[in-house]
């Protein structure tokens, strides 16, 4: 790699935030499964690396009944899979975590890193968007919280400023009788990036929520489609309607993984399969 960086591993959050505010060429290292690849291919020129793994606040992985689940920046994807709570309460997140990359990578890769990398095809965002996830962001100036749907601004772009760091992601308690799932299409069995991925949720009142990846410049929550579907009421007929209608709500491109037409088609197929599974 061409980057010539120094490496620090602060023990408190303030030190990390200070380091970020001092120098614009500072990069945050948690799992490193995206950062190290970017460094290796010289896609970034890092002068400083701040390893956040020793900061205890960022290890938080805590559920409070009636409130929700907070997932800190150091929580790795295999922790989500190993959590009974995630499997029981946030099934779509469990599904998405289970198909992300390979076992070794999931031992390092963090949920927050998956968000900050902001790939349009990332597996975890659709499963978080359907739960109205929020993102807690800190800088040396203070803290702010943004909705995950507003966090992504483009391909590999977020509204995170250079001096900011994501502390955690928060998922409200979905309550009882809530169901969700995530399904995706890939080119091959085994680990591959998503060609299209759809997350669906039916809340306790029977209202549907839909998240999707790899069909636009950012992962999306399809609120307009949800509103129309929920107005019709969820039944066999309206599900088939939604599977067609979804094509008017997404703008996929053709790339190495798939043609635009196949993505449009599979978005409908996956939406139908998800909703049918939840209605069963």
């Amino acid at each position: 790699m061409l980057s010539q960086f120094d490496y620090v591993k602060p023990l408190v959050l303030d030190q990390a935030l200070d380091a970020l505010s001092r120098d614009g060429d500072t990069y945050i290292l948690a799992g490193g499964t995206d950062l190290l690849i970017a460094l290796r291919h010289n896609l970034i020129d890092a002068k400083h690396i701040v390893d956040i793994k020793a900061i205890p606040e960022l290890d938080v992985f805590h559920f409070e009944e009636g409130k929700g689940l907070e997932i800190g920046a150091n929580v790795v994807v295999n922790q989500l899979i190993d959590s009974d709570l995630v499997r029981d309460k946030y099934k779509a997140l469990y599904d998405a975590a289970s198909v992300l990359a390979s076992y070794q990578l999931r031992n390092r890769a963090t949920l927050v890193g998956n968000l900050c990398n902001a790939s349009p095809g990332a597996d975890l965002p659709p499963a978080l968007l359907i739960y109205d996830a929020t993102v807690k962001i800190a800088s040396s100036q203070g803290e702010r919280t943004v909705a995950l749907k507003d966090f992504f601004t483009g391909v590999k772009k977020t509204q995170l400023a250079k001096n900011e760091l994501v502390v955690s992601v928060f998922l409200p308690d979905p309550g009882k009788d809530d169901k969700s799932c995530y399904m995706r299409q890939t080119r091959l069995k085994g680990h591959d990036l998503s060609t299209v991925g759809v997350a669906c949720r039916l809340d306790g009142q029977g209202k549907a929520a839909i998240g999707i990846n790899a069909v636009a410049i950012t992962p999306l929550r399809l609120s307009a489609l949800e509103d129309q579907l929920n107005a019709k009421g969820l039944n066999e007929e309206s599900v088939l309607w939604a599977a067609e209608e979804i094509k008017n709500h997404i703008k996929p491109i053709s790339d190495v993984r798939s043609s635009k037409e196949y993505r449009l088609h599979m978005a409908g197929v996956l939406l139908r399969r998800c909703l049918q599974q939840l209605m069963d």
């Binding site: 790699m1 061409l2 980057s3 010539q4 960086f5 120094d6 490496y7 591993k9 290292l29 490193g32 499964t33 190290l36 690849i37 290796r40 690396i49 390893d51 793994k53 990359a101 390979s102 076992y103 070794q104 990578l105 031992n107 390092r108 085994g190 680990h191």
Partner: protein
């Protein structure tokens, strides 16, 4: 005459380029031995193991965490060492394929790989063994699905995987029996 072919390709120097950054002292355990070395902060753990410790078991292939040839066990967890900086292993415990055998005798897992011919060219084998080791450490009785999941990050272009599967299953059984017997 010395040609490129005479050289052990597995023991070739890595692509690490020394930065001009101030070196840091790295202290960790590797296969049970304490190691203290001054290193470049930009050095990958994979390159540290190969270039500095001359442990050539972990291989550099894709360099992007896709193939698993560089898999080692860091603090009890299988990781791809091409995506870990050496400094991240500060104070850590590293196990490589070189640490599997005891007193010159191959471990049960290695013996079963040999017995089932679970290798051909052998390039993926150290990574495959370390993923399998981590799997059996956390799950001594893995199902077929568990083995698929545990080894899914390790690519092999020779064997078609079936022999590897069989070797891991046999090793798991023998290890469980050994545990009962002891």
């Amino acid at each position: 005459m010395t040609t490129h072919d005479d050289k052990d390709i597995c023991a070739m120097e890595s692509a690490h380029v020394e930065s001009q950054k101030r070196r840091v002292v790295l202290s960790l355990r590797v296969n049970g031995q304490a190691v203290v070395e001054e290193i470049d902060p930009t050095m990958l753990l994979l390159h540290f193991l190969r270039d500095r410790l001359k442990l050539f078991g972990a291989k550099e292939s894709c360099g992007e965490g896709e193939c698993g040839a560089c898999t080692i066990i860091l603090n009890g967890e299988a990781v791809t060492s091409c995506l870990v900086l050496a400094v991240e292993a500060q104070g850590g415990d590293v196990r490589t394929v070189e640490g599997l055998s005891q007193g010159g005798e191959l471990s049960i897992l290695q013996q079963e790989f040999v017995f089932k011919d679970a290798l051909q060219c052998g390039f993926c084998t150290p990574g495959m063994l370390m993923s399998a080791r981590a799997l059996l450490d956390r799950n001594p009785d893995p199902s077929d699905e568990d083995i698929k999941e545990g080894l899914g990050g390790n690519l092999c272009r020779c064997t078609g995987y079936q022999q590897i599967f069989d070797a891991v299953k046999r090793a798991a059984k023998r290890e469980r029996e050994e545990l009962k017997g002891s």
